[in-house]
Symmetry: C2
Subunit: 257 residues, 2 copies
């Protein structure tokens, strides 16, 4: 949504096209060079930063809505997006929005407008290599930035709670899902996956045990292939065994690090 015309149409005729009372918020988690970051947008007329979000079309599956919204708000496509929680308990989520909110964008919203109604938010998260993406802003936003997870500022609305919950979920999922597969090259070295896991968990892992366990559990597989880094450095390459993860998940067997 970039033009004022589109935005006015959305505000005044959106009720028939979108599901009122339900919004989606996306936590886009980026990893590169042992750094973990979150994509935040700077909203026009507000001091603070917030998450990309949007609404579900009347007959649209919410999973599809999550992809569409992310694409519209940031230009990102084909991400693995995962639903993780519905936010409907914080004070911000219990009341109607007021007209002052929209006045900041120069929009006049009449009482009774669908955008003023109480809105529950469904959180989705995605993982990307942030060095590979460029984000575009829209009518509501004037800037974006990848923020280090240790330095997330005070966010708009209940978005700090949303980010925290997304990171907690991600850390748990490391034990059940081949999380790294969207962040590492298809064939990776043990130091690469080791760094990724340490960065996401925010703590040191015992190097030898960590790798041995992943291999022993059949979750990653050593390839008969090495990467040539230098005359004396050619580490073996590994790849994820996605089927082994699925099987382990069904059996309720998880790994510890």
């Amino acid at each position: 949504m970039n033009s004022l015309e589109d935005v006015l149409d959305f505000v005044h005729h959106g009720r028939g096209r979108y599901v009122p009372h339900v919004s989606l918020d996306s936590v886009i988690i980026g990893y590169h060079d042992q750094q973990l970051k979150i994509l935040l947008l700077k909203w026009k007329g507000f001091e603070g930063w917030g998450l990309p979000g949007g609404f579900v079309l009347r007959h649209e599956p919410i999973g599809e809505a999550a992809h569409r919204i992310l694409h519209e708000r940031t230009g990102l496509e084909d991400l693995f997006l995962q639903q993780f929680h519905v936010f409907g308990d914080s004070p911000y989520r219990l009341e109607e929005r007021d007209t002052a909110f929209f006045a900041r964008f120069g929009l006049e919203v009449e009482p009774g407008n669908w955008l003023l109604e109480r809105t529950l938010s469904v959180g989705y998260f995605a993982l990307v290599d942030y060095s590979q993406v460029s984000v575009r802003t829209d009518f509501f936003t004037e800037d974006y930035q990848w923020w280090d997870v240790a330095e997330i500022p005070e966010l708009l609305f209940d978005h700090n709670e949303v980010v925290e919950k997304a990171l907690d979920t991600l850390r748990l999922q490391l034990f059940h899902q081949p999380i790294g597969s969207s962040l590492l090259p298809e064939k990776f070295t043990l130091p690469e996956i080791h760094s990724l896991y340490e960065t996401i968990l925010g703590r040191k892992l015992d190097s030898r045990n960590f790798a041995k366990k992943l291999v022993a559990l059949g979750l990653i597989r050593k390839l008969d292939e090495q990467r040539l880094i230098g005359p004396h450095r050619s580490p073996f390459l590994y790849q994820f065994e996605k089927e082994a993860y699925e099987k382990a998940l069904k059996l309720g067997v998880v790994q510890t690090y």
Copy 2:
């Protein structure tokens, strides 16, 4: 909601009191004597069975709504209810309900009524000892039954999907949460917790390793107390260390069985 008067008021004046487009569904998982069961309600006018559910009040936190609905529909109170997923992708969740649905209850619902609108559902699950509870039916339901998880029939709407997802979530949570604490006595024997975990996971666990690991990880603690079963049987008692679970969760350390 038991009287026709209450129900008519809900149908015709509910839009102002409830959040439209969002419902809650509860999967009540019961455990007793090494059996795992799900509470299903028999809806009047329908062949099939379904889950207890309801709507969120206009300014009510959704967590509170989950408890209120469960109490209204079943008489159950003070359960540990946990949100696990939003259902909004299946064909049933994409379209409006039709008037024929309500006609089965002898209710005439006018076109445009809030109950006919597309509704996303937030799933909650709870764990109870089913031998300890008695359930009451309401205007919409004529019977209830605890169904063995291996024998769940074809359910109304998308409720089979909701039950499956709840059970998957529960099985994963065994590794992160003191799940058993609402199902076992405060002080329990190792065979008791062993049976509970085997029943939930639906598979045999290695007896000695399982118990040893829980103790080694500090998640359960051996008490200086025994239960007197007979002259030659007085097993030691254990209890959950809830703080150790919370700490392990934060660190991203989980146990395997």
